[in-house]
Symmetry: C2
Subunit: 227 residues, 2 copies
């Protein structure tokens, strides 16, 4: 099948959405957590370092994103693509601007259906944590909710938004302030094994894939003559 630009423009809208959202290949599956009013911790969960509290009901927000992208390791910076204003509610982004922080939580395979549900357009007063069956967790002094069910969680500090005027999207940039991951998935050299964590990937707008590690290759160097 060979489609030119004008063939693509002539596709039915839904077919074009599905196809063009698929062409980049597999995408990371993450939930971004925010709130406008973090709860007062009522108790400490022993051993985890996380706090739980009452009081954030209805003010927290959880949304699935497949566009989280690595920008740099030192400092550790990540970005994600924000859809145009007006196209979708931007509770996540408004909360990020209000509090300056957010969390990025990798989606495990056994939570893909619940995670997909967060893409529905809930009223601002509804928490997708409660509605979709996820549990809020907080770190002391960090005003964004982590997803207890995720085995790889990042606490992010908002840095800036870079507009992409050509289609009204934007790149939202943050720095990694906290990295929480199950010990058994981290190799001595720092690599995190996504299969050990049973993480999922996304294709298009609604297809989910499991991941199996095939191999790991050394840093590629050009062979010198005689070597």
């Amino acid at each position: 099948m060979h489609l030119t630009k004008s063939d693509i423009e002539g596709l039915d809208r839904v077919k074009r959405l599905n196809m063009i959202n698929s062409v980049t290949g597999i995408k990371p599956a993450n939930l971004i957590g925010t709130t406008t009013s973090p709860p007062t911790p009522s108790r400490i969960e022993s051993g985890t370092g996380f706090l739980r509290g009452e009081g954030s009901k209805g003010n927290s927000n959880l949304a699935i994103f497949s566009s989280v992208v690595h920008l740099g390791s030192n400092p550790a910076l990540l970005g994600f693509i924000l859809r145009p204003t007006g196209e979708v509610p931007r509770h996540t982004y408004e909360n990020i601007l209000a509090t300056g922080v957010y969390t990025i939580n990798a989606i495990p395979q056994d939570k893909i259906e619940a995670a997909h549900l967060t893409s529905a357009k809930y009223d601002r007063s509804i928490s997708e944590f409660e509605e979709c069956g996820f549990t809020e967790e907080y770190l002391e002094g960090f005003a964004a909710p982590f997803v207890q069910e995720s085995p790889l969680k990042l606490g992010m500090k908002y840095l800036e938004t870079i507009p992409i005027p050509i289609n009204g999207t934007a790149l939202v940039i943050g720095s990694v302030e906290h990295l929480i991951v199950a010990d058994e998935a981290v190799a001595k050299n720092g690599y995190i094994n996504l299969e050990t964590l049973h993480l999922a990937g996304i294709s298009g707008l609604n297809s989910y894939y499991s991941l199996e590690k095939m191999g790991e290759f050394p840093y590629a160097r050009v062979a010198l003559s005689g070597q």
Copy 2:
């Protein structure tokens, strides 16, 4: 394991690179193809629509990227993250600026080792196509080489580069001019099945994963009362 920002800053450089490149989850595996001098087609490969030619030896470039990201479907726009100048040779980017076009080619599982080799720092006069065992293909009137071995190929027109000053990277944006994919992987609704295409995903800088489709969920809507 819980690392704070200062723990991350205190890691050994290689360990930090490995870990922070892993935290976003699975990443798409694509080869970007460019050339400064497309060959004169010497013959037409019957049935494929592609042209082959002699003459581009040493002037073509092929490089692996894990940062290709969807920006929009109408128009169909994709971006990728460019590392800072000076950190790596930017033959790919220089060729894109010179010709205005490039290709994005999804990496199949049986080519991950060859694809990984393109990340070595070859001299400008060396073609990674030849060096790593890939075959150049051209469309008439489109001056960038496609990868014959890829089952999902995009011909891209360069549009603009958006600088990310905070760490010297940039977002390179292009529009999809050609989409070439194996028919059997495209569903009626437009979705492209990545498992049918045997595509790979990347984690970190050097780990490769196979993909298995788990499920597909309908467009998520909030249930109305009584429904």
